[in-house]
C-alpha cells in the first residue's frame, strides 16, 4: 500500500534558489526519512525525523513534520546543480499487533532539476 506521496512530481529551479518538496502519508508512523537518488550514487539517506520531532536540520537541508496533518516537507536551501536528483520520502511504522508488524513505504519521488 502506498503510504508516502511526494508533491510535486517534478520541480525545476535556478541554482541558488530554494527547493521545497512535500510528502503526505496516511497512517501513524515511527519516523519519516528522506532519500536522494541520482544515477551516479544510487539511493542515499539524507535525514530521519522521528514522530515526536517537529523540525530537523542537516547542512542545507531542513525537514519539518506535522503529525496532525500527516505531512512532511524537505527544504533545500541555496540549491546547486549537484542537487539535481530524485528525492523520496519513506515512512516507517511498527505495530505490536500479533507477532509485530513493520512497514517501510517509499513514495514515488520528486524529480528535482537545478539549472546552473
Amino acid at each position: 500500500s502506498q503510504q508516502g506521496e511526494e508533491d510535486p512530481q517534478a520541480l525545476s529551479i535556478q541554482e541558488g534558489e530554494n527547493a521545497t518538496m512535500n510528502c503526505s502519508y496516511k497512517t501513524s508512523i515511527n519516523n519519516l526519512q528522506w532519500y536522494r537518488q541520482n544515477s551516479g550514487r544510487g539511493l542515499v539517506h539524507l535525514i530521519l525525523i522521528r514522530s515526536n520531532e517537529r523540525e530537523k536540520h542537516s547542512g542545507r537541508l531542513r525537514v519539518t513534520l506535522d503529525t496532525s496533518k500527516k505531512s512532511s516537507s524537505l527544504l533545500i536551501t541555496a540549491s546547486r546543480a549537484a542537487d539535481t536528483a530524485s528525492y523520496f520520502c519513506a515512512t516507517a511504522s511498527f505495530s505490536y499487533s500479533g507477532a509485530g508488524s513493520y512497514q517501510l513505504t517509499f513514495g514515488k519521488g520528486t524529480k528535482l532539476s537545478v539549472i546552473p
Binding site: N31, Y35, S93, F94, F106, G109
Partner: protein, 116 residues
C-alpha cells in the same frame, strides 16, 4: 563507511529460469531489505529480515523468496522468472531495531534484471 554490495549490476535471464540475487553488507547490521524499483511506482518492499534465518513479507512478495543464512548476506530468489519481474532490484541494510522504526537504510548500487 557502510558498504552494501550486490552480486551483479546487470543480469539477463530467460523466462522460467531460477534467479539468485545476492547482497552483502559489511557493517554487522541486523536488518536487511529487498526492494524493486519501477518507473512511476517508486520503491516497493519485497521482503525483509531482522535476524539470521528470520524473514518477513513486504508489500509484494509473490513470486519471490529470500534466504538469510549469515548475518551479512541476504539473497533474493526468483523461483521461476517472468517478464513482469524485469526491474531494478535494490538491497539495503539498517542497524536500528525495527520496533523503533528501523532507522536509516544503506543501499547497494542495484541490479538491473531483464527477463526475456
Amino acid at each position: 563507511d557502510v558498504k552494501v554490495t550486490q552480486s551483479s549490476r546487470y543480469l539477463v535471464k530467460r523466462t522460467g529460469e531460477k534467479v539468485f540475487l545476492e547482497c552483502v553488507q559489511d557493517m554487522d547490521h541486523e536488518n536487511m531489505f529487498w526492494y524493486r524499483q519501477d518507473p512511476g511506482l517508486g520503491l516497493r518492499l519485497i521482503y525483509f529480515s531482522y535476524d539470521v534465518k528470520m524473514k518477513e513479507k513486504g508489500d509484494i512478495p509473490e513470486g519471490y523468496s529470500v534466504s538469510r543464512e549469515k548475518k551479512e548476506r541476504f539473497s533474493l530468489i526468483l523461483e521461476s522468472a517472468s517478464t513482469n519481474q524485469t526491474s531494478m532490484y535494490l538491497c539495503a541494510s539498517s542497524l536500528s531495531p525495527l520496533l523503533a522504526g528501523g532507522g536509516e537504510q544503506y543501499f547497494g548500487p542495484g541490479t538491473r534484471l531483464t527477463v526475456t
